[in-house]
């Protein structure tokens, strides 16, 4: 699949998602495309697609690359791509992403999900995804300190979430943190429930 989103069409589709360039599932094919249209520099140069598509700028994976590489997060990756928030997950950050697994998505009731998938609710989908991102560095140690110091966790959609301890486990809202990964632009905590914003 060698297809490109164009910025124009995307912005008409996505209200909240912020900008993104076109997704390409096969990066390597793009240079060929560029050389084929040498004059078309501003539109097709690889870097005009956005930060999500720069290769090899870190030994470490960023939050998006980690999710893409995970078998347990195919639903999340699909949703991120659909909502067009790739570039929000790859910027310099720091970001903390709470990444629901495929089985977490499976727990959402059918009606809610179907509603979410209606074309008029695409912004809502992006909003839900942004609700999973905190614009700061939150390793487990800092999350634990949040509990200790009664601090809130500020999420990129403008809401606050609370971290609580239940037994040995840390929870964000009602989602259990199952594992944590340090990525090049922050932290990814893998969770077992989708975090749905109150609104």
């Amino acid at each position: 699949m060698n297809i490109q989103f164009t910025i124009k069409s995307l912005t008409s589709v996505l209200v909240l998602a912020g900008f993104l360039a076109c997704n390409s599932s096969d990066e390597k094919s793009n240079p060929n495309q560029s050389t084929g249209e040498a004059a078309d520099l501003t539109e097709t140069s690889a870097s005009n697609k956005g930060q999500a598509f720069i290769e090899g700028d870190s030994e470490e994976k960023n939050a998006l690359q980690l999710a893409i590489g995970s078998e347990d997060h195919t639903t999340l990756v699909t949703a991120v791509k659909a909502a067009g928030v790739e570039n929000a997950l790859v910027n310099v950050g720091p970001l903390t992403v709470f990444a629901p697994t495929n089985s977490a998505f499976d727990k959402i009731d059918q009606a809610t999900l179907e509603d979410l998938l209606k074309p008029e609710n695409k912004a809502k989908l992006a909003n839900i995804l942004v609700h999973h991102v905190a614009p700061s560095n939150y390793p487990v140690k800092t999350l634990e300190k949040n509990i200790e110091k009664d601090r809130k966790l500020y999420m990129a959609d403008g809401s606050y979430l609370e971290v609580v301890r239940k037994g040995e486990d840390l929870y964000i809202g009602d989602a259990k943190i199952m594992a944590s990964v340090n990525v090049s632009n922050g932290w990814v905590h893998i969770i077992d429930n989708v975090l749905l914003p109150n609104n």
């Binding site: 297809i3 069409s9 910027n91 809130k152």
Partner: protein, 655 residues
């Protein structure tokens, strides 16, 4: 539940298809790209339409670019030593970098702003602030040289600066790092309620532009980040964003985003100026350097000043209010009409738009929502006019095109969003490459913007240019904003880290740009105006060389009788009286930089010879066909030798 996954996949694929449906249309952009090329192309010898002055960030300087070409025209040294022309190294200019902490060779320049008359750019001066050792500089837009630097005592992190009121009555300076005021030895974790965030008001003498630290408003210890003056209807007020109203002293990345809202400080500076005039305020301690460069003597001097008038904001009733603003705001911008004040909550997804009229009404009706350290907080609902809900993440800064639209940068979602004043509707959004900080429209923060181009100043460069190792220059992008949609025209690298820029139509300042200095008007203490007067004078171990340059020799060019341990001052006067004929001067073993001397100018460097021998000096600027011949020798003898002090040009020895 595989169906869910399929649904999502279906949606994703659908979007991808919709998105890419236009690819063939955009694919014909070859024609568009070539018309973009025409828009930024200047035939050899043609001039740009606008000047763009970009702050140098950690270079400490100010760079001058032409728009739309993106050509860099000059780097003006301001807060940092600049060996290219000797600024901060030469004996005349060293004083420019004096502070109450001693000589500081470096600065972090942030926000340039051009002087205004009636709210319009007037092209007299450009001001720029220094964040690290709080200072504000004034640069002449005739000579394009730094003429004055004033330090701000009792302050730290002068970030909310150097914004100009609409008749250049005042320049402001802020405190981004709250500090004890007065400074004292105390435990850091007792900061809360103890630290202060003074806001400085510097009045400007309209004839010469000289800066005077008139008063400091001793605000509560929040982090004052950015500012803008009211204009037109709201002239007389100044607005400052603040964050860390939590007053966190550590790990601010977490602790300073706990409050749902921080504050914009609304300050009626006219009222406070009146209060001062009537003897209000208290003189408090504070030592600060005030450095001025005199164009006539070509020499900078430092006056170390003591004491500043401090104003307690609670003492001037009706002059200072807080307005709640969501999420650690960064930019604070006022639209050209002065009616709307825009808070850019950098961790929010929205812009908050306040109405000046509503602010006045809320004050009138005492529509307060409590107070912060005795400063009334205007109720958010009563002053909020609208919200720009673009869906972008991380709004930082807004400017205006004068046609009813605002342009806001979003750092996290890496884009510029165009929206309409009044309806607050989003009109267009374009990506930035990458992670844009501020943007600039020439005159975009004045009553009369020139809404033809917009420049985004991007924080992340990565792969935009040929790679140059790990350290990269920052990147700017030029957009055409004459149509409904913004159109990306050009990428160009910028020097240092431009935090902000100020643009002005070239026509406004081009004609006043000085071509050379009149030798007649050179009142430098060590100037010589003809070769006959060139000489050496010894005073103990100090030797003053009164020398001249003209194509293609120094006078004198042979010097004898210098001894090891002497301090030799080379005072070089460039006798040329023609446009663009500088001469340079460099001396082997000098522990300082070269000097680049403009026609009619005198500059001095010091040389302390350490070894006997015959040592050359030369002209560093390729001034003429015989530039390579433009050199001379100094004979250095032992400390106790009897070598006679004498000098010559073409073997006509004098002593």
């Amino acid at each position: 539940m595989k169906t869910i996954q399929k649904l999502l996949l279906g949606l994703g694929a659908g979007l991808l298809l919709i998105g890419c449906g236009n690819n063939s249309k955009e694919g014909s952009a070859g024609a568009m790209a070539s018309s973009n090329a025409e828009k930024v192309y200047l035939a050899p010898g043609e001039h740009d339409e606008f000047y763009a002055f970009m702050s140098g960030g950690y270079s400490g300087n100010l760079t001058v670019y032409g728009l739309p070409s993106g050509r860099m025209l000059k780097e003006i040294p301001v807060f940092s030593q600049f060996p290219t022309n000797g600024y901060g190294y030469s004996e005349e200019s060293k004083a420019m970098l004096n502070t109450s902490f001693g000589f500081v060779p470096w600065g972090d320049s942030h926000h340039p702003d051009i002087s205004q008359t009636n709210g319009e750019l007037d092209g007299r001066w450009i001001f720029i602030n220094e964040n690290n050792t709080p200072r504000v500089a004034r640069i002449s837009l005739t000579t394009f040289e730094t003429e004055e630097i004033i330090e701000l005592p009792n302050s730290a992190g002068n970030h909310a600066s150097s914004f100009v009121t609409e008749n250049t009555e005042y320049i402001v300076a802020g405190t981004r790092f709250a500090v004890p005021n007065p400074q004292r030895d105390m435990p850091i974790d007792e900061m809360k309620g103890e630290f202060k965030g003074p806001l400085s008001f510097i009045s400007i003498d309209q004839e010469h532009g000289h800066m005077n630290l008139e008063f400091q408003l001793n605000m509560p210890g929040f982090n004052y980040d950015l500012a803008h003056p009211g204009r037109d209807k709201s002239h007389g007020w100044f607005f400052f964003t603040s964050y860390n109203t939590e007053e966190a002293h550590t790990m601010q990345e977490v602790n300073a985003s706990q409050n749902d809202k921080d504050f914009i400080a609304a300050v009626n500076w006219q009222m406070i100026a009146e209060y001062i005039k009537n003897g209000g305020g208290t003189k408090v301690a504070g030592t600060y350097a005030h450095n001025t460069y005199d164009e006539s003597t070509m020499t900078a001097t430092t006056e170390m000043k003591q004491g500043v008038i401090s104003v307690d904001p609670r003492e001037v009733e009706g002059a200072v209010y807080y307005m709640p603003v969501p999420k650690s705001p960064h930019g604070l911008d006022v639209d050209p009409s002065g009616r709307y004040i825009i808070g850019n909550g950098k961790l929010s997804t929205q812009l908050s738009v306040y109405s000046f009229e509503k602010i006045q009404n809320a004050i009138q009706n005492k529509d307060f929502d409590g107070d912060a350290y005795g400063i009334p907080i205007l109720s958010f609902e009563s002053v909020l006019e609208g919200v720009v809900d673009s869906g972008g993440l991380g709004p930082l800064h807004t400017e205006f095109d004068g046609k009813g639209f605002g342009y806001t940068t979003y750092f996290i979602s890496s884009e510029v969003v165009k929206w309409e004043l009044g309806t607050w509707e989003v009109i267009d959004r374009q990506p930035s490459y990458y992670s844009v900080g501020h943007l600039m429209i020439p005159g975009g923060n004045s009553r009369n913007p020139y809404g033809k181009y917009m420049v985004s100043l991007n924080k992340i460069t990565k792969d935009r240019y040929l790679p140059t190792g790990p350290e990269l220059e920052h990147s700017a992008q030029l957009y055409d904003i004459t149509g409904e949609k913004m159109e990306l025209l050009l990428d160009f690298p910028t020097h240092g880290e431009p935090h902000y820029a100020a643009g002005i139509p070239a026509e406004k300042i081009k004609a006043q740009s000085k071509k050379y200095y009149e030798l007649e008007e050179n009142n430098h203490k060590y100037a010589v105006k003809n070769e006959a007067d060139t000489r050496l004078e010894r005073n103990g171990n100090e030797v003053h060389v009164y020398a001249t340059t003209v194509r293609s020799h120094f006078a004198p060019d042979n010097i004898e009788g210098i001894k090891v341990g002497d301090k030799v001052y080379f005072h070089i006067t460039n006798l040329e009286q023609d446009f663009d004929v500088p001469h340079g001067f460099a001396m082997i073993g000098a522990n300082t930089s070269e000097i680049l001397v403009m026609p009619g100018q005198t500059k001095t460097i010091i040389w302390e010879p350490k070894r006997e021998g015959v040592w050359p000096f030369y002209c560093t600027d390729f001034c003429s066909a015989l530039h390579q011949e433009m050199q001379g020798y100094v004979r250095v003898s032992a400390k106790n030798s009897n070598t006679k002090l004498r000098w010559s040009l073409d073997d006509e020895w004098k002593d």
